[in-house]
């Protein structure tokens, strides 16, 4: 049987700043994931942001994504981690939203309920400068395999209704 792909849009949002060393790892991982999904024919939209801003909610209204994958570098993980996300508190910050906060805006203001995922990749050095630390670079080498596993999970699904394309355990993260 021919494998099927999700037909509803997957929105990949890379968060970070490539001028702050490992903070740029989120962008790199997001680009690889988005490219791999797109090459396989999965509808995907890639956005790269220094931080999440409220106007992304307005963009979501236009995109109508079934799933949002937030991809970010983090000191809290030692290898890439994937976590399902639920809507959370919207902080009184003008500089940025959390991924959970953005999901809340979508849900409460626009009745959008895309499945949310947070993909974290390890980072250690966040000072000014370009280029990743050795640990962050090595962790990113797993990106193509991660995307492939993810895609395999997508292809195994035949139901096109909007839902998470995979479970955290399914992609082995």
């Amino acid at each position: 049987m021919k494998p099927t792909l999700p037909t509803a849009l997957v929105w990949v949002i890379g968060i970070g700043n490539p001028l702050r060393r490992d903070d740029g790892a989120g962008w790199l991982l997001a680009q690889v994931l988005a490219a791999t999904l797109a090459e396989a024919g999965c509808p995907v939209h890639l956005t790269l942001q220094p931080q999440l801003l409220p106007e992304l909610a307005a963009e979501a209204v236009e995109l109508q994504p079934a799933q949002i994958l937030f991809v970010d570098a983090s000191t809290a993980v030692t290898s890439p981690q994937c976590t399902p996300l639920l809507p959370g508190t919207v902080a009184d910050s003008s500089h940025g939203l959390t991924p959970a906060g953005l999901l809340t805006l979508l849900q409460r203001l626009y009745a959008l309920q895309p499945a949310g995922w947070l993909l974290q990749t390890p980072g250690q050095e966040f000072g000014h400068g370009e280029g990743l630390s050795e640990n962050a670079r090595q962790a990113l080498q797993a990106a193509p395999a991660l995307a492939a596993r993810w895609l395999a999970t997508c292809q195994a699904k035949t139901d096109h209704t909007p839902r998470p394309i995979c479970e955290a355990s399914e992609i082995g993260l």
Partner: protein, 488 residues
């Protein structure tokens, strides 16, 4: 026993700060100070860099108003080159600057101040925030997002990205406006104008609720400084510096921008990283022949939307002009509007003005002209760039060697220029609400709102990284910390 109250951190503003309230033996507020506790030092570490890099470097001071630094920095670069940039480049820069004003003012009004204005200054603090606003007034929250989105999209269409666009350069801008982007912006304008008109109606509907605040929050005589056109109109990108006093007397009708140092001095205090700019002639008079710095407080002036509307003779666009007439009725005839609480109103008028100007500018077919950059080498060793940031007048001055390497950098940021006024506002609100040393959460929020009136950006004004939570500390007359309240 006297004591001091400290609010630390201050919330819903940009950067890190705290407020200390010093009480006397009777528990009445004797003094209040707004401390900015972050430091970054852009002026120093830019030395040794090329002036060509400065738009890109100084834009990193802030993620909210990078466009303002791009404008002032590129203009300082124009001056070093000694060029008049192509007219379309100047119009495109203005376009981006107005878009920046729209998005920044929208954030201040809809998301940072609306929780206080619509939910109540002393309402449940657990709900007096953006989440509470979303629950009670989702249409207002949506409008804020749409209006901000408009401004950010215009910036992105012009500069390639909405945050830190590397687009303005000494001599002009990098890319012209495409016909497609021009049409897209024109299509988005009606909705943005409608949202702004709704916001003005909303603000008017709250007027009766806030009569006391109108009378008390930042209501004191001061000077006002801002840019005006050569004809005296509202201006945000270029023009002349004008200073008006609290009686409406024009002290400086139109000082050429490179001469700003003749009228602006900068003082420092050991308890804050934020400098205290002052109007030099007033401080000099008060010093009676001594150093102006010793009497710098006599030169207190305000900048920003309230000041800009106070110093201009007219707005020059139909809808904003009509609102400006209403705004002026808030003060006795011929006098400036002296209450900073009306900064909310001034911000909305400026959004309206910016949208009208954007529409007008896009109607001109020359806006897509590809001639957008003048080319030259270093022709002057000093360059001054001045523009109006959302929060007020922004000064960049660069001194370079013959290779264009920076020898000295001076940045005077809008928020710093409101430093004296913010301190005065905090003291005024605290003195009114705090009796016998009793402080409630609601009173702390009122004091914070006094700061929010100026929409300070401390990341810009100290050139520092960070967020801005609020903390309050209370000291007794012996200087001992007796209480501390903080929230993140």
């Amino acid at each position: 026993m006297s004591k001091t109250i400290v609010i630390d951190p201050v919330t819903r503003i940009e950067g890190h700060a705290k407020i200390t309230l010093h009480l006397d033996d009777q528990g009445q507020v004797e003094d209040a100070r707004f401390h900015v506790t972050e430091f970054r030092g852009f002026e120093k570490f830019c030395e040794g860099r090329s002036f060509w890099e400065m738009p890109g470097i100084t834009a990193r001071i802030c993620g909210i108003c990078p466009v303002s630094h791009l404008m002032a920095s590129a203009k300082a670069g124009d001056a070093i080159l000694g060029v008049a940039i192509p007219p379309t480049a100047a119009r495109l820069r203005r376009l981006m600057n107005w878009a920046q004003l729209v998005q920044s003012h929208a954030l201040s009004f809809f998301h940072l101040s609306a929780p206080d204005l619509l939910l109540g200054m002393e309402s449940d603090p657990a709900k007096r925030n953006l989440m509470g606003l979303i629950d009670r007034y989702p249409d207002v929250a949506r409008n804020g997002i749409r209006l901000r989105s408009f401004g950010q999209k215009v910036i992105e269409m012009l500069g390639g990205r909405s945050v830190h666009p590397a687009w303005t350069v000494p001599g002009g801008v990098r890319d012209p406006l495409s016909q497609e982007s021009r049409s897209q912006i024109q299509q988005m304008l009606p909705e943005a104008l409608a949202i702004t008109e709704q916001a003005l109606d909303l603000l008017r509907s709250t007027a009766d609720t806030y009569r006391d605040e109108e009378a008390l929050y930042g209501n004191f005589p001061s000077l006002y400084l801002g840019l005006v056109t050569p004809e005296g109109g509202l201006e945000h990108y270029d023009g002349l510096l004008r200073v008006v006093d609290s009686d409406g007397t024009v002290l400086e009708p139109g000082l050429p921008l490179p001469r700003y140092r003749e009228i602006i001095g900068e003082a420092v205090e050991p308890w804050s990283y934020l400098k205290f700019p002052f109007y030099r002639p007033a401080a000099t008079r008060a010093a009676h022949g001594g150093a102006a710095e010793t009497q710098y407080a006599a030169g207190m002036y305000r900048v920003g939307p309230l000041a800009r509307l106070n110093v201009c003779d007219f707005a020059g666009t139909p809808r904003a002009e009509a609102e400006l007439r209403d705004f002026r009725r808030l003060a006795p005839r011929g006098r400036p509007v002296s209450n900073s609480f009306h900064s909310h109103y001034a911000r909305l008028i400026e959004i309206l003005y910016s949208l009208e100007r954007i529409a007008e500018t896009l109607d001109d077919p020359a806006i897509t002209d590809p001639r957008i950059r003048a080319h030259a080498e270093v022709n002057h060793l000093v360059g001054v760039g001045v523009s109006e940031a959302p929060r007020g007048t922004l000064f960049h001055e660069y001194q370079v060697d013959s290779n264009g390497i920076l020898q000295r950098v001076n940045l005077i940021i809008a928020t710093g220029q409101n430093n004296l006024a913010m301190n005065r506002t905090v003291k005024q609100i605290a003195q009114h609400h705090i009796q016998g040393g009793k402080v409630t959460e609601g009173i702390l929020n009122r004091i914070e709102h006094g700061i929010r009136l100026y929409d300070p950006c401390l990341s810009c004004s100290t050139h520092a990284v960070g967020q801005m939570p609020l903390q309050v500390e209370i000291f007794d007359s012996a200087g001992r910390l007796v209480d501390r309240m903080a929230r993140n």
